[in-house]
Symmetry: C2
Subunit: 327 residues, 2 copies
């Protein structure tokens, strides 16, 4: 089995690569080839015995999508994207990468002709939804994004569904919750603080909270995110039906509940490292985001997630901190 | 006031032009300039005393959208599109005209800069929805189109909303019901028979019915369609809010009820001119279409439509046949 990952140098891309290399198989087939692409060079996959290729590639540049697909990967994980905050600040770049890049990749698959029909896992986002919302957003709720990022992801979903319906590929769109706790440095995503207020205090550093503690949101760990993608790659066309884009399950809680969980798991002293500094742009973006879903289709299809925010914090401490918390 | 109409040579475009010329004003302002564009040359607007320009233009060709917008029209009616049947048969042409053409027009408006902020009325379609449906589709139902045409219209809606939110223009998307009775020759729309089975018999000719009589659908007259567009152009940003795309009201009835109305309005002999000839492609496309809506947002915003299918047939006899039916 040959697998292509775009955005492979990103956090989810790296964790997905690690997991695939570790298990050595996907959908019961041995992985013998990995193609890892990103705008910055992805690391060579450590411990992989098959053929690995790492490509530095801007998907939206002429010929790049064709280059990635030329080796006819059996499964494509399309993770490459400009994050929400940056897509809001740079209108043209967001559309170029998130819309044109995705479309170029889909078109490159189509251009391979009828004998090629890969599994195509697209990472979408709950940012495809826009306020006002019902108490819990059902699977049939319309997409009225309130950011350019959400708009671009919603368009990607529509293209994915049409390319699937036309028989060019076998698509599944996975609407990720906000992924917390993201390891490493903050990125430009407007949702970055949801991780920051856990990650920095656990590492002994101060964290900035730019929104009110009453903000309610929908979370899953990086470990769960990788699990969603792997599970999505194994779903049959028949089980999915024509509605190939799915809201993933998550843990719903307020920022106050996140902080309470941090206190329970790591203590008062750690939680005291959070500094309140309201940011109007972040507050405006986050106010338009959804907070609670009725993700019954995904649950029925076998997707799983943490049971509480405490579990999400513990996953971070296990996976990233070797079990150690900065006192 | 300067008005641009794309797709001006089409049926709705011609009727909209006639209505605007006849009333001489839009939103209380005198119309002193009309720019009419289409892939085939639109007719010069008869009886118009202002400045009129007719352009033969393929919106998706380089520089064409910029040319249309260069005169900074105050109101843009974007009607140009490849119809559903053709977009399904010619994948690339559908995406080029319906997606790239629409995006090019939106981008041309944006490129004019901050001092330009036109009203942009986009004709969408109920084909943005895809089965399975609830009994009546609410305004919050998700878009899961089952045709490439519906996909392209849904993407147009998303772009329109984002360009509006970013302040580049003042958009409103009007999801038209199936427009019946279309005058003139059949076009390539899969929905064409809904008009044909009324129009041809009234003109003394045989008509083909390619689907079962139990097919339920959502209709409005060409007169109502033009009314929707004119009303949409007069809606304020405030009244619309962030959800700028609206399902229009319509008349819901089965093909059998259409035929019964034809009998009531024009007699048994006229209705006997319908020939049943099932067509698998048309049946498949139509089966994925929605049939009944709860269009309460549009009704609350003042959009109006016929009360029965009898009224729709009478509108056709008045507007197109000078009151005469072929015995």
């Amino acid at each position: 089995m040959h697998i292509l990952i775009t955005g492979a140098a990103g956090m989810i891309g790296r964790k997905l690569t690690e997991r695939l290399v570790k298990s050595g198989e996907l959908n019961g087939q041995a992985i013998d080839r990995l193609t890892l692409a990103d705008v910055v060079a992805p690391a060579a996959p450590a411990g992989f015995s098959g053929k690995a290729e790492t490509l530095t590639s801007d998907l939206s540049a002429a010929g790049e999508a064709q280059r990635l697909v030329a080796g006819r990967p059996d499964v494509i994980f399309h993770l490459a994207a400009i994050v929400s905050g940056e897509a809001e600040l740079d209108f043209e770049k967001g559309y170029r990468i998130n819309l044109d890049g995705t479309r170029a990749l889909l078109e490159a698959v189509r251009a391979q002709g009828e004998s090629y029909h890969p599994k195509f896992v697209f990472t979408s986002s709950i940012a495809v939804f826009g306020a006002p919302f019902p108490d819990a957003i059902p699977d049939e709720f319309h997409l009225t994004p309130l950011t350019s990022y959400g708009t671009q992801k919603a368009i990607g979903e529509l293209l994915l569904a049409d390319f699937t319906r036309r028989g060019f590929l076998d698509g599944v769109g996975v609407r990720l919750p906000s992924i917390v706790v993201r390891p490493g440095k903050p990125n430009k995503a407007a949702s970055g603080f949801f991780s920051g207020i856990i990650r920095e205090p656990l590492a002994g550093e101060e964290a900035v909270l730019p929104v009110d503690e009453s903000v309610l949101h929908w979370h899953a760990s990086p470990r769960s995110a990788v699990g969603f993608l792997v599970h999505a790659a194994g779903l049959s066309r028949e089980s999915l039906g024509p509605r190939v884009n799915l809201t993933m399950p998550g843990v719903c809680c307020t920022v106050a509940e996140q902080i309470a969980a941090l206190k329970r798991v790591a203590g008062e002293k750690v939680a005291a490292r959070i500094r309140r500094t309201p940011d109007a742009l972040v507050m405006r973006i986050v106010a338009g985001w959804p907070s609670r879903f009725d993700a019954r289709r995904a649950l029925a299809l076998g997707f799983t997630v943490e049971k509480s925010f405490d579990d999400i914090i513990r996953a971070h401490i296990e996976d990233e901190l070797g079990g150690r918390i900065a006192a």
